[in-house]
Subunit: 449 residues, 2 copies
């Protein structure tokens, strides 16, 4: 059985993951992307997968395509979507080890990308390898599509999906990640929120000035503060006109599923060291917010002197990075226009708005047969599982639905408190093993679905 093969060869999975972590691949900095994609192609080929680099145009990070045609069942195709790029490693001083160490401590393997998404990727590759090495075949056609821009908003995903639409055609998609909660229950995610990521910048003068001149020269940080304050109320509700216009209320079915999702308020608070939730949310309000609340988050604010002590400076410029999470029917481009209009109408037309990226939200229907297929594999592997209407996070699921017209389901090995996007990100080794076996079961179940 493939699960035995996974156990017997597990140490190789871990050392391969270490190699992947040790190869930095920060898309925001265009760092190590060629090297990392090359490394993955090699690794896939070693596992018996036909792998190749896909390109659309110069300057765009390459994607990786992998394929194994099934001899026994060539009429059905499962596609694994993953990404090899990672978030920036800053702030450096908060890492216990180097950000790309791949260091193992007990049940954890540390490093940027350990969980998001190199840990997930390795579980898919090794599950497919298990079939190939034990039977010389796979129960259904398998495809891999591994991009290098997920962490900067999958900027060219639609170009790839369009150009390689036929190559990537499939009947179902296993998404690039999936959470496992504190009670070791995998969360089967049927949807993703959307995202609009923008920079607001204000340049006031051609150079920093002595702050005694603040009586005469406008302060760009003050200008941004004033603009920001018009965007959101203290409870997080967005004040931009028509922001929520297209948003539907939850259906009864959604609400039932949301109510049944577990959420441990105390362990969450403990993990982040917080006392209360935004707007004093409790119970189902928390779960509804994770699934369906749009946000306006300040991801970065920078202006003036940021060192120790005092510098009496009047900064020449200020910059704020904002990520808006979107829910189904909110169109990033339309929301961007609403934001721009809002700033203009409130007298902030001197503030420059730059869109960094946008993605629409998407959800797979609960009634899709693929949901049952995945849930059975998850229950068999973990003893139990939870279905979630939508993740609080974002991915280009909308684009996959649009171009491949297949159900997408997120399931994986990422412990819910594994500090993805943060210092000391880690993957839990026990979950990597269980998830690899679960992937074997998904492939098997899907072949006979």
């Amino acid at each position: 059985m493939q699960e035995n093969y996974v156990d017997e060869n597990f140490s190789r999975l871990v050392s391969d993951l270490q190699k992947l972590i040790q190869q930095p691949s920060v898309s925001a900095k265009n760092l190590g992307l060629e090297e990392c994609s090359g490394l993955i192609v090699q690794m896939m080929r070693k596992s018996g997968i036909q792998a190749e680099i896909l390109r659309i145009k110069k300057g765009v990070p390459p994607a990786i395509y992998g394929e194994i045609k099934s001899k026994q069942n060539p009429g059905k195709t499962l596609l694994f979507y993953n990404h090899y790029d990672v978030q920036p490693e800053e702030p450096l001083e908060l890492w216990d080890d180097k950000p790309f160490s791949g260091k193992i401590k007990g049940n954890k393997i540390f490093g940027r990308g350990s969980a998001d998404d190199k840990g997930e990727l390795i579980t898919r590759i090794k599950a497919v390898e298990a079939f190939l090495k034990t039977t010389g075949d796979v129960p259904c056609n398998i495809k891999f599509f591994i991009e290098g821009e997920e962490e900067i908003g999958s900027v060219h995903i639609e170009n790839y999906l369009k150009k390689y639409q036929k190559k990537l055609s499939c009947d179902a998609v296993i998404w690039e990640f999936g959470y496992v909660d504190e009670k070791n229950r995998p969360i089967i995610g049927l949807g993703m929120k959307g995202l609009l990521y923008v920079e607001l910048s204000k340049i006031e003068s051609i150079r920093d000035a002595h702050s005694s001149l603040a009586v005469l020269i406008e302060n760009p940080a003050w200008r941004l503060v004033e603009a920001l304050k018009t965007l959101r109320d203290v409870d997080g509700r967005i004040l931009i006109k028509d922001w929520y216009k297209e948003v539907d209320a939850f259906t009864k079915e959604d609400l039932k599923m949301i109510a049944s999702e577990p959420f441990d308020e105390n362990s969450f608070k403990k993990e982040y060291g917080i006392r209360k939730f935004v707007g004093n949310k409790k119970g189902i309000a928390i779960k509804k917010a994770l699934v369906g609340e749009p946000t306006c988050n300040i991801a970065g604010f920078t202006s003036g002197y940021e060192g120790p002590g005092a510098k009496t400076v009047l900064p020449s410029k200020a910059l704020v990075k904002i990520d808006f999470r979107l829910i189904p029917k909110m169109d990033p481009q339309k929301q961007l226009l609403r934001l721009k209009k809002h700033l203009e109408e409130n007298g902030f037309d001197d503030i420059e708005v730059t869109m960094i990226h946008g993605e629409a939200a998407a959800r797979t229907r609960l009634s899709d047969p693929f949901v049952k297929t995945v849930k059975k594999a998850a229950d068999d592997s973990f003893g139990t599982s939870i279905i979630s209407v939508s993740s609080a996070g974002t991915g280009p699921m909308f684009s996959f639905v649009k171009f491949l017209n297949s159900p997408c389901i997120a399931i994986g090995s990422t412990f819910v408190f594994s500090r993805i996007h943060s210092p000391n990100e880690f993957a839990r080794i026990d979950l990597l093993r269980k998830t690899t076996k679960c992937m074997c079961k998904i492939i098997r179940n899907f072949a006979s679905q």
Copy 2:
């Protein structure tokens, strides 16, 4: 004559200033302070001045004391107050040469501290040297007091002035700097604004989180934005209760002097690349603001991801540095309490307020005979001069008045657009020469005042 000596030995003044610039002395970083003070003591001794290091306690940057007793006129003492520390050199990428280069290009010598305050200091030392080398005496007693914490708010100036009150006793003080405007007119400054420099910080969680969690975890940058917005209206007026309570209106005499001060709106706008002044100020309103308007300036704002591209992060903390400029009768400690009370009363008691430093404002009366003495020397040296009720900047003048009970007047060599506290700070070589000669005249005039 001393002025001839200054001309004949001027190349040494310039090379000594280069040496001073090349020795970094950033008080905010506690960088190079011992080295720089040692270098200055050596230089003063070479000029014939008895110089020594003064200390008050361990960990506090040393000050420098210099003295020459007059044989011909031992009953009168002029004190030069200067500082050897400089502002932080950031942002590094905006400097054309290295920040501590001391590079000469045409009539300019570049580097952090070239104008503020090493250029000024060298003019005082060399003027005194001129008397000693030409006559073996000085026309009146001369004292120097050179501190190392001016750029971080002269934190221990009162400790020094108290401990060495007798040593530093004098009849008049020449302040550490003075501006020269675009028409080569020295500005004789009779006062300084005060300063309250604070950090507001908000720590929300124990680590950065994935920004999808913004539905649950409060964003500390948003929290600061909300608090900041209550401090100031869009025209810069401070909204903290009783902030202006003790402030007096300008006297008729003040207003007359303010009206007569020149201010070239166009060259100022051109220098900083701005189109209009805060609150659309024009004419006398500009000059009144420079002399007497309190400010609330954001000197730095830092939170979250500040690199290129996108990082979807929910920051764990946010920090803002604010400098409030104060005018006479505003007590920094009292204003700090008002700020704290304001934040509490507006529900922001979760924001931590740290005072970095505070100094009260001070002004010397126009009727003081020392004003006429200085003005005559300035007129003789530059052909004309301007009297200013108060600089827009801050210094510990209040403490000098309190402990030494002497009039303080600011006059010097700093070209008004010499980018002090900013990248590419420079001193104008022609002004260094003229000011050194002007200092000779001040010493001579003061001796016979």
